[in-house]
């Protein structure tokens, strides 16, 4: 439950601000100059704030659409990401956001039209390329849809493009906006998944894996293209059995024809982010796993990583064509 909304002066009269505020009735509102005045302060306690985050409504001035990291990619020739929001209503213990930001408050950038313009410019200036735009890098694309209306706004923008694919990355089963649109051939609804036992322990406040698979099944049935994201791969006792069970459940419930792409990524953290997260949650078992301190990114040992990736890729390739499977490994 949001107890306080901070509103940048500059966008206080923006129609999207007003429409978001309408949903909150008499919730406490505080006007601010820039979102960073609240969001970037160093003496905040992310872990405590996460139990009661505030909402910040702001305008994004720069860096609206950015080049995606090299390891990102699901078949396009150029990859970009954009974030209408910072932070997430979920609380996943491996999420890099908790080590990247000093605040757990949600920032929503209400100037969606400026994102649209940047995307349109990129599409128009790359007519011979296949572009992929990833949403859901700094937030969950769908989880706060009932407040942000982001998907409802963004889908029509992409309906105009032939050479641009939109990926909405989510753990949410809030499907309302997608049910109201005709499925689009250039939009992938990508769900993050891991074996149930790991998810129960690591994914806090998220829909259960079985619920996510039900949602995938429903969207597939309607004709939406589905992305399956096994990122991060998590190690532990009987991990092979756990992952196999997950793949079997997916194979049983999601038709192959609906699967646009599958990506697999090992558990890795930039060093500083790992330091912050493990300080926030020193009791977390995940960080006591067989992680090794490679120079830049704590991760599982190379042989463990390889064994897990190979095993998963092999099993996934039994129900998904190899051409649709992507291994997202960033260079160490």
């Amino acid at each position: 439950m949001i107890k306080c909304i901070y509103i940048e002066d500059e966008i206080k009269d923006h129609p999207r601000t007003l429409s978001i505020l309408d949903r909150f009735g008499s919730t406490r509102r505080i006007k601010i100059k820039r979102y960073g005045d609240v969001f970037n302060k160093k003496s905040q306690n992310f872990r405590l704030q996460k139990s009661n985050p505030a909402l910040i409504l702001a305008r994004k001035h720069q860096g609206l659409v950015l080049d995606a990291p090299d390891s990102f990619g699901i078949g396009g020739t150029k990859n970009y990401y954009f974030s209408h929001m910072f932070n997430c209503i979920y609380d996943c213990r491996y999420c890099f956001l908790q080590g990247m930001y000093s605040s757990a408050n949600y920032v929503v950038f209400v100037n969606y039209e400026d994102f649209d313009k940047n995307i349109e410019d990129l599409v128009n200036s790359n007519p011979n390329e296949n572009l992929t735009f990833f949403s859901g890098y700094d937030c969950d694309s769908l989880a706060l849809e009932n407040i942000t209306g982001f998907v409802e706004h963004t889908l029509p923008v992409f309906q105009k493009f032939d050479n641009a694919l939109l990926e909405l990355r989510t753990k949410s089963i809030q499907l309302k906006p997608l049910l109201e649109f005709t499925p689009m051939k250039n939009c992938v609804i990508a769900f993050s998944l891991m074996p149930r036992a790991m998810s129960d322990s690591l994914d806090h406040k998220t829909p259960k894996i079985s619920e996510r698979i039900k949602a995938i099944s429903k969207l597939a049935e309607l004709g939406w293209k589905i992305g399956l994201r096994f990122d991060p791969l998590v190690h532990g006792k009987d991990w092979k059995i756990l992952y196999k069970e997950l793949f079997d459940e997916i194979e049983l419930n999601v038709p192959e024809t609906a699967i646009h792409s599958v990506s697999v990524g090992p558990l890795r953290f930039p060093k500083n982010i790992f330091k912050n997260i493990s300080k926030l949650y020193p009791e977390e078992k995940l960080f006591a796993g067989p992680l090794v301190n490679s120079p830049r990114t704590p991760s599982y040992a190379e042989n463990v990583e390889k064994e897990m990736t190979d095993y998963c890729l092999e099993h996934i390739s039994r129900f998904v064509p190899k051409s649709a499977i992507f291994n997202c490994v960033s260079s160490n």
């Binding site: 107890k3 306080c4 901070y6 406490r28 505080i30 601010i32 005045d37 609240v38 302060k41 003496s43 905040q44 306690n45 872990r47 405590l48 704030q49 139990s51 009661n52 505030a54 408050n105 074996p195 036992a197 790991m198 129960d200 322990s201 998590v234 190690h235 532990g236 006792k237 009987d238 756990l242 493990s278 926030l280 949650y281 020193p282 009791e283 977390e284 078992k285 995940l286 960080f287 006591a288 796993g289 067989p290």
Partner: protein
């Protein structure tokens, strides 16, 4: 198993504001010969400093209390006192979530994680008593400076500013008597108690997270560790405690001769551990 004491630090400007708190939490004078009078309870969990009026006093007293009470980084800090208000006079305890320094226009945004049932207000901290009450805003002479310092000693979420309205356009400050102030604070002491309990619990949670494990302290007392070995030792003991929360580390290392073999032993035990996700709590 680690045990921690509660750690609440009070910064209060006037004796008449502090009196009900000192009594309720059974505090006695700890020191009154220094720059500020300091009180604490027998368990040394609640400490209170009388800062006097104004931002410089409040900032100095906050720092002084931190040092004299050896305040841990998980301490909850509370500033409570009277404030002017440019609106209807409420008798409730009010929680501040925006505080502006009038002289500079700088604003800070406390994000308190307690007091969800309290009304939240903006506070303007002025340098001189003022009769220019701004509609909808509280006015005091300490809040900004207190928050700026205390939130750095602990965190924004554990730094709380609480106000009770004393004066306003129809009731000027100079007519407010000390006994009336004491009565106002006494009236809300039960609300305050609930709020403080909430803060104490959150602080204890933070203590568990931030404090050095007892096993680490025992290790560095028992064997000689170099500086880098100490860092490694702390890292390994935290890992050990997250994997084996109820297992005694010393049962496996007590026979070791030196720091190097201690580290090697703990490493050996933690490295071969595989997380059991199915049976994990």
């Amino acid at each position: 198993m680690r045990e921690f004491n509660k750690a609440i630090r009070w910064v209060v400007a006037l004796k008449c504001e502090a009196e009900p708190i000192i009594q309720y939490f059974k505090m006695d004078c700890y020191i009154n010969t220094g720059p500020f009078s300091v009180f604490c309870d027998r368990e040394k969990e609640h400490w209170l400093v009388l800062s006097g009026i104004g931002q410089i006093n409040s900032a100095s007293a906050t720092t002084y209390l931190s040092e004299i009470s050896d305040a841990p980084p998980w301490a909850g800090w509370i500033n409570i006192g009277i404030a002017g208000y440019g609106g209807k006079k409420l008798k409730d305890l009010l929680l501040v979530d925006e505080v502006q320094q009038f002289s500079t226009g700088h604003t800070l945004y406390p994000g308190p994680v307690i007091g969800n049932n309290l009304r939240r207000y903006s506070l303007i901290t002025v340098d001189k008593p003022s009769k220019n009450y701004k509609q909808g805003h509280l006015v005091d002479m300490e809040g900004y400076a207190f928050f700026e310092i205390a939130s750095r000693l602990s965190s924004q979420q554990l730094t709380i500013i609480l106000k009770i309205i004393s004066d306003g356009p129809d009731e000027p400050l100079e007519l407010i008597k000390p006994e009336t102030v004491t009565e106002s604070i006494s009236r809300i002491i039960n609300n305050l108690k609930t709020l403080v309990q909430e803060l104490e619990n959150i602080c204890l949670g933070e203590a568990k997270r931030l404090a050095q494990p007892k096993a680490y302290k025992k290790c560095i007392q028992t064997w000689h560790f170099t500086s880098s070995q100490k860092t490694k030792c702390l890292e390994l003991i935290r890992k050990w405690e997250s994997i084996f929360p109820s297992k005694d580390l010393f049962s496996i290392i007590s026979m070791e001769n030196d720091a190097k073999s201690v580290l090697s032993k703990i490493s050996k035990h933690t490295q071969k551990y595989e997380i059991d996700w199915i049976n994990s709590d």
